[in-house]
């Protein structure tokens, strides 16, 4: 299984995009604009998630010099 944090974030983007495609397709099937509005909300959520996630990735890389998600196990929280 892949543990690279950059790939994890990219895969999250792919999954959010898939959910957005489902919303837009359903909205255009019934001719309602609600699906597109849900896609706009997904877009805002994905943008904020990527901003915070990439800032966390930068902090972790400066502390551990590694991008493996398993190396964060030594955080005692």
């Amino acid at each position: 299984m892949r543990r690279d944090l950059i790939f994890i974030l990219m895969s999250v983007e792919i999954m959010l995009n898939g959910a957005g495609v489902a919303f837009v397709a359903a909205g255009s099937r019934w001719g309602q604009p609600d699906g597109q509005i849900m896609f706009l909300f997904i877009l805002a959520m994905a943008a904020s998630e990527v901003a915070v996630g990439l800032a966390l990735v930068l902090r972790l890389y400066h502390q551990h010099h590694n991008l493996d998600a398993d190396t964060i196990n030594d955080m005692r929280g």
Binding site: E13, D34, L40, F41, M45
Partner: protein, 201 residues
């Protein structure tokens, strides 16, 4: 429209599968950009032109630029120069170029067909115009817009707090020193009043 939709969907599926199977992050990012552009063309053929434009501008433009910046920042040094050389001389860019060429042929076909049939570019039956989306967005979904703005503000503050430079330890030490000096001077003040005669008012 159906042929264009299925072509864009095929390009999107192929480039997404190639995204999650690449080992190098830059190659995966190239395929991810192509995948998002293909999804944008699919949105356009589905009759959602506003969302297609936002997909290109925000997803493929802004979010992918963030990813590219972070990958570049994490990849400094001699190793980066070698990987850049391999990127330039290899045949890595052939796959994304072929898939994007398919997409641009499709977009040119759509524009030419709309021009020939005399219609506006995104009109016809089943197309949800941006006007309808805007009216619904600022009508019943106004609370959602407010929540999205608060979420974006929180993400902005959080990202700038997490991404601050790591030199704040010096500030913390300076704060501790100033606190100590203030405590010492407070002690002096107490000692100055301590020796007064007890019958003074």
């Amino acid at each position: 429209m159906e042929v264009a939709f299925y072509a864009a969907g095929t390009v999107a599926v192929i480039s997404t599968v190639l995204t999650i199977t690449r080992l190098n992050a830059v190659h995966a990012l190239l395929y991810l950009v192509v995948s998002l552009l293909a999804v944008a063309v699919a949105f356009y053929t589905m009759g959602a032109p506003l969302v297609a434009g936002l997909e290109v501008i925000i997803y493929a433009g802004a979010i992918m630029v963030l990813f590219v910046f972070v990958v570049m920042m994490l990849n400094l040094g001699r190793r980066a120069v070698e990987s850049e050389r391999r990127l330039m001389e290899g045949t890595i860019w052939v796959g994304p170029s072929v898939l994007s060429a398919l997409l641009i042929v499709e977009v040119v076909f759509l524009i030419a067909r709309a021009r020939l049939s005399g219609l506006a570019l995104a009109s016809g039956s089943g197309v949800l115009a941006p006007k309808q989306v805007g009216i619904a967005l600022y009508g019943p979904y106004l609370i959602g817009v407010e929540l999205a703005s608060m979420l974006l503000l929180g993400a902005l503050v959080g990202a700038s707090h997490l991404g601050r430079p790591a030199s704040e330890k010096a500030e913390v030490r300076y704060d501790r020193n100033s606190d100590g000096s203030r405590a010492r001077s407070g002690g002096n003040i107490v000692r100055a009043g301590f020796g007064r005669s007890p019958d003074a008012p």
